[in-house]
Amino acid sequence: MRKVSVIGTGLVKFGKYPDVSLADIGWPAVRQAMQDAGVEPKDIQALFCGTGLGGPMPGQRIFGRLGMAGLPIINVENACSSGSSALSLGYTAIASGRYDMVMIMGVEKLTKFNGGTIPLEKEDWEVNNGLVMPALYAMRARRYMHEHGLKKEQLANVVVKSRRHAKLNPDAQLRSETTVEEVLASRMIADPFTLFQCCPTGDGAAAVILCAEELASKYCDKPVRVAASHIASGIFDSGARDMTTPEITVRCAQETYEEAGIGPEDIDVAEVHDAFTSAELMYYEAFGFCKPGEAAQLLESGATSLGGRIPVNPSGGLLSKGHPVAVTGAAQVVEVVRQLQGRCGSRQVEGAKVGLTHATGGGISGFDHGVCAIHVFSV
């Protein structure tokens, strides 16, 4: 297998663009990534385009706009991990020697659903009986609170940290700092989660150009190596399941660390799937940043804030950036790659050499999550 590098990144700030088509949300991210890498359309040999809810053939619609269609385009649906699953396919395509340079992207236009919770598959038993994503995470949170004595104020702390980071990120949607009191006073969504504890949605796009490592320096002064690319699917279990630990992320993290030949102590910066407050805390434990039951203490110690031992979600994460389903995984890569390139301005994690991205997708009965994608990057 060949080594693979990231040589260019592009991002369309998440927001509400009801009057803009999916194709027009997508192409600016493609163009920005090509400008960043200094490559021409002819250099891109294949496109892997993730969308969860954007409908058929988003890649063709976007590349068609740019006069870049004609190359192999694979569209990827893997729920909230669609963008990161596209990345994994692109990685393998280069590592295997099939291509030298490919683009991966995520694109989404959620404003077409007119707000509310993210639409789920109606054939699913639980969805059909009234499950919504905030409530699923809320049930996990409640059980965790029961078992570990976690307080609602400690959940709210996750939002306070997220917004503190997002204030430094011009690409975040929610950039005002907040307080524990304000978080808890926002309206109830799914008990114990108030509005501020749930990620906003949004429209947006993110694109990443991957290249064989031996060719990367031709295009890019600061190529970033993909040190591991790992996908896991959930395990179906119709019986009792421990919902205080995200089984799929624990398993995928272990396999990813093994693939990269590193451990949690080697990670300098991480972007994890903080769709809801409790999720970020559980992921601290799943990634081994702390012991089970100690996540709130880790957060309170400042270790996961900018300037701490292991800054988590310096971009503000899903809670402040928003969560345009398929884009999230690709946008996390944009953030971590730029962190490792030292391009993140006031939210820069000083001296970051190794970074991690993590996107999960769920909403089907009997699974912790349906999919988990973890990538490790290094310079």
Binding site: T117, N128, G130, V132, M139, M188, A190
Partner: protein
């Protein structure tokens, strides 16, 4: 061409009563038990995820279980009317049932015993599940 995969009546119907049997003292949920390995499933699936046997038989599930967790839902798509309470109920024989939860949500507790109850339809096309689990009255 015959399609010989077992068809589950009204797969995952929110309002289906196919999953419920009336009993003199109340109702029971109908799940499936795998005759090959003994795995119990709810709702019915037609194939055992543990051993892939298709030799499954309908079984009545116990009508009491333990509340694993719950949430009061305040935001949901149509046709749901909020707030409503959902939760996971663990039944004996290792079956976890996703269900609406009755009773006073302020008094729900993780680990409490809950019992299956029929929900009479308010109207012929009422948008409510036909069953829920409610806390067992103490004393």
């Amino acid at each position: 061409m015959a399609f010989d995969t077992p068809i589950i009546p009204g797969a995952n119907p929110r309002l289906s009563r196919e999953h419920i049997a009336a009993r003199g003292d109340g109702i029971r949920l109908i799940g499936q038990q795998c005759k090959a390995c003994g795995k119990t499933l709810f709702p019915r699936t037609g194939i055992c995820p543990d051993c892939r046997s298709e030799d499954l038989q309908d079984v009545e599930l116990p009508d009491e279980g333990v509340l694993y967790s719950w949430s009061v839902v305040h935001v949901a798509p149509k046709p749901w009317v909020t707030p409503y309470v959902i939760g996971y109920v663990d039944l004996p024989s290792n079956v976890r049932v996703f269900s609406h939860i009755g009773g006073d949500s302020e008094r729900l507790k993780v680990g409490m015993t809950v019992k299956l109850e029929a929900v009479p339809p308010a109207a012929p096309d009422a948008k409510a599940p036909p069953f829920l689990f409610s806390p067992v009255r103490q004393g």
